[in-house]
């Protein structure tokens, strides 16, 4: 077996093989100074930038940075980093100008942080001695760790939140007529047990990096910049990416111990990305053209009943998933990337891949050919009062339209998937992810780094045009 079977080894090994040798900061300094490292990173960055939006940066072997600007936002087809910190914000302002100012400020900070710069021009240990530093500092001395920051807009930003008694929400920002048709209220799926306090939100910010401290630093500084305009509604830490978004990456494992996302849309599959991930202008009304080149992000916090799963026989586990636990091959035979043969039958006349197996129900052939770009992470948020791990899969998927690419599949899964016995969806969010900030549009200050001005660009700018 070529793949490691210990799930604890998987994230480390896969990233080591697929990305680049990971060097600690200390290791770098030992190589003879930060300047040389800076040049190396700059080169990798420049290559990545010149070929944006391809994920060339990692191919160069530099542990550096991904371009922030581009046709699409980074953090979607970017090779999935190991760590996630995702925050959903609620806007506390009702002023459209304040919202725009926030997005402008956030865009500059994100452009800076993703390139390894400090949040503000002074940095964490400089600037006026009687003022708090303009960067919180915990990312100093660390490498950029491939940080990407991706922004999305929730339905409530456009039309508010309806009250329990059915009173419609309020269009606080004059955006109701710009609501994309695909940004629906997700229906209640069978076995959903959603906590409203950790679902939805006006704006979502996904920070991914190979170092959790880098991801947390990003959300922390963005949150600080939002005081007075938006507050955090909920956040989710994730580790051990559960999907690969590039053919260069090994398929990782989820907390059930199985390879997850084998059939994921990969960055290299350009035509599939166009068909299944990006929102084409042709699918949008004139009022919602601002989303062209963007995507939809589905976020689902899926708690796993780990303890009972672990008491389940290997045979039943493989039967429920429809793949082997070791190599991830379909039970109809072959290796991980062999197409499953749903017609193959065993000696007892039953399908080798059970009709209620996860791989069958989630397969494109069962879902009108739709695929999704999954970018989920494992989570472990402590434990419940019974001493059971509050752990599972934080499912993230980017799709061209949730009405065709998520809701039908999840409807089938939640009703028929044998795995649902071990799963509860505890939180949910759906967000429209605008296209990227165009290359070359950032406004640079006298030191050559991005600054916020009255006309600096921002994520989602076309929405407010």
């Amino acid at each position: 077996m070529s793949a490691p079977t210990d799930p604890h080894d998987t994230p480390e090994e896969s990233s080591a093989q697929s990305d680049s040798p990971r060097l600690s900061r200390r290791g770098f300094l030992g190589l003879g100074g930060g300047l040389a490292v800076g040049l190396a990173a700059a080169t990798g960055f420049g290559v990545g930038r010149a070929t944006a939006p391809s994920p060339a940066a990692t191919a160069s072997g530099s542990p550096g940075t991904y371009p922030f600007t581009g046709v699409h936002q980074a953090g979607i087809v970017t090779p999935a980093q190991d760590r996630l910190y995702l925050a959903a914000f609620d806007l506390t302002t009702t002023s459209r100008d304040d919202l725009i100012t926030l997005l402008r400020t956030w865009t500059t900070i994100a452009a800076r942080l993703t390139q390894g710069l400090s949040a503000g021009p002074f940095g964490p240990a400089s600037g006026p001695y009687n003022a708090p530093p303009d960067d919180t500092g915990e990312a100093a001395d660390l490498l950029p760790a491939g940080l990407t920051i991706t922004f999305g807009f929730g339905r409530s930003m456009f039309v508010g939140t309806p009250s329990a008694d059915g009173t419609p929400g309020e269009d606080r920002f004059g955006l109701a007529d710009r609501l994309p048709e695909g940004l629906v209220d997700l229906p209640h799926f069978a076995a959903d047990d959603l906590d409203p306090a950790r679902s939805d939100g006006d704006i979502v910010v996904q920070a991914c990096a190979d170092d959790p401290q880098i991801a947390v630093h990003a959300i922390r500084n963005l949150s600080r910049a939002a005081f007075g305009t938006a507050t955090i509604r909920w956040t989710q830490l994730g580790y051990g990416r559960t999907s690969s978004t590039s053919t260069a990456q090994l398929t990782p494992r989820n907390l059930f111990g199985f390879k997850d996302g084998t059939a994921n849309v990969k960055a290299e599959e350009t035509s599939d990305l166009q068909e299944h991930v990006w929102v084409p202008g042709s699918a949008l009304t004139p009022q919602t053209q601002w989303l062209a080149g963007g995507s939809f992000l589905v976020a689902r916090r899926i708690r796993m009943r780990i303890e009972t799963w672990d008491r389940t026989s290997l045979g039943e586990q493989e039967g429920l998933v429809g793949r082997t636990k070791g190599a991830g091959a379909p039970l109809s035979g072959g290796t991980e990337f062999t197409e499953p043969d749903f017609t193959a039958k065993g000696g007892d006349g039953k399908p080798l891949i059970a009709v209620d197996s996860h791989v069958r129900l989630a397969h494109p052939s069962e879902n009108k050919g739709v695929r999704m770009l999954r970018r989920g992470y494992n989570f472990t948020d402590g434990n419940d009062s019974l001493g059971r791990l509050d752990a599972g899969l934080f499912f993230l998927a980017f799709v061209t339209d949730p009405r065709t690419h998520y809701i039908p599949m999840q409807t089938a899964l939640s009703s028929n998937d044998g795995l649902m016995e071990y799963l509860t969806h505890t939180a949910s969010g759906l967000y429209a992810v605008p296209p990227g900030v165009p290359d070359g549009s950032l406004v640079l200050g006298s030191d050559g780094t991005p600054v916020t001005t009255d006309d600096s660009p921002y994520v989602g700018q076309a929405l407010f045009a």
Binding site: G38, L39, A41, Q115, G116, Y129, N130, G228, L444
Partner: protein
């Protein structure tokens, strides 16, 4: 601000360089090769020299990265053309350390001065600020405004401690005489005067813990005194809320002692504040305003300050009052230095006050903390954060003048 239509690879490399170099430099003395490119002047202060990397700079924001390369603690000054007026300074820079001086300067002639050993006139050099065309607000002329602010604030503090001591005496009398109902009715209203000026009490070291320590903060084996000891005795908890054991009311002797301590320590505060040499400087007022909001954020908006009486919103309002007075007395200075900050603070104070006023007033009473909904608490917390973030800029703004 330059706006580049196309980012070339070379420009991108330039963009990245300072960042990684900056990371390396963050915990070292200088900011390295990136310093000159980003307009930062370096100052090397040694025992007998003061090397400034340039003798002139364009008007606007000027940043000096001061490194003490000598053996003594040093200071660095930017002085006006008379060589006397201090435009701005950094003090107490230990050997081997660096500190930034960031200052707004108009075109003109200035003097730089390092003062190794912190004595004498320092090692001076002429420094020219050329006209960059950028707009610079009034600087260096706020001494009168500052001293007026300090005088106003000291007067406010004296007024508050006067009300505090008389209210405390009345409260103590009711409590020792067994009139618990009256004591309960006076509790929150009297503490208002304490909470408004708490940073002043904190400046006297021991007085704050002697008067305002919460039970959870009492170190095992040390005596507990002050307001919250009596609070608990006036709002006696059920065993569930008392670590599972029945609350034992204070005896009359314990009551008398607790009340006497409260009056005694409060009188000490009154005496300190009324001492002829009592001053409270502008930076202390500004820091105090921010600290009052920190008090709200950590103690009041969480309901931890008044866990027995649940009168947290009285304290909340009082802290905000005190912070607002701090801002108001400094408003002219802030307006001159940073009108945008002044506007934002005015707006944020008003927004927070609107939320608080929806829950009552000191005169008519507030909603008890345990009657607030989660949504109301979150809205208050968000308004506190919204105010505290710009308020954290107040000290730097006031001291940069």
């Amino acid at each position: 601000m330059s706006r580049r239509p196309v980012l070339t690879a070379a420009a991108l490399a330039a963009l990245v360089l300072p960042l990684v170099a900056g990371c390396v430099a963050n915990d070292t003395a200088g900011s390295g090769p990136s310093a000159s490119s980003s307009g930062v002047l370096t100052v090397k202060s040694t025992d007998d020299a003061c090397e400034v990397s340039a003798a002139e700079a364009p008007s606007g924001t000027v940043q000096f990265a001061v490194t003490n390369a000598g053996d003594d603690v040093t200071e660095f000054y930017l002085l006006g053309d008379d060589g006397l007026r201090v435009i701005s300074e950094v003090e107490n820079v230990g050997p081997g350390l660096s500190r930034d001086l960031v200052v707004q300067v108009k075109p003109g002639t200035y003097y730089t001065a390092c003062k190794p050993g912190m004595v004498g006139d320092g090692i001076r050099a002429e420094f020219t600020v050329t006209d960059s065309g950028s707009d610079v607000g009034p600087t260096g002329d706020t001494a009168d405004q500052i001293s007026a602010a300090e005088a106003q604030y000291v007067a406010y503090v004296k007024d508050q401690v006067g009300a505090l001591i008389s209210g405390t005496q009345e409260f103590a009398d009711a409590y020792t005489s067994g009139d618990d109902e009256k004591a309960r009715s006076l509790y929150a209203d009297t503490r208002v005067h304490w909470e408004r000026i708490e940073p002043v009490a904190e400046s006297f070291g021991d007085l704050d813990p002697l008067l305002d320590l919460r039970e959870a903060d009492v170190e095992a084996g040390t005596p507990w005194s002050g307001w919250h000891l009596i609070e608990k005795d006036l709002w006696q908890p059920e065993p569930d809320a008392n670590g599972g054991v029945a609350y034992v009311p204070l005896t009359q002797e314990q009551r008398d002692a607790a009340a006497a301590d409260l009056v005694k320590y409060t009188q000490q505060l009154v005496d300190e504040v009324n001492a002829p040499d009592f001053t409270f400087e502008a930076f202390q007022i500004a820091n105090g305003a921010k600290e009052l909001l920190d008090e709200v954020a950590t103690g009041k908006v969480t309901g931890e300050e008044e866990i027995w009486s649940h009168t947290d919103l009285w304290d909340f309002q009082s802290n905000v009052d005190g912070a607002h007075v701090g801002f108001e007395v400094l408003a002219d200075v802030v307006e001159a230095q940073d009108p945008d900050l002044a506007d934002e603070l005015t707006t944020r104070f008003a927004e927070l006050q609107t939320l608080l006023s929806a829950q009552g007033s000191i005169e008519s009473g507030f909603t008890y903390y345990d009657d607030l909904t989660d949504a109301q608490i979150k809205a208050l917390a968000a308004a506190v954060d919204a105010l505290a973030e710009p308020l954290s800029q107040l000290t730097a703004t006031v001291t940069s003048s």
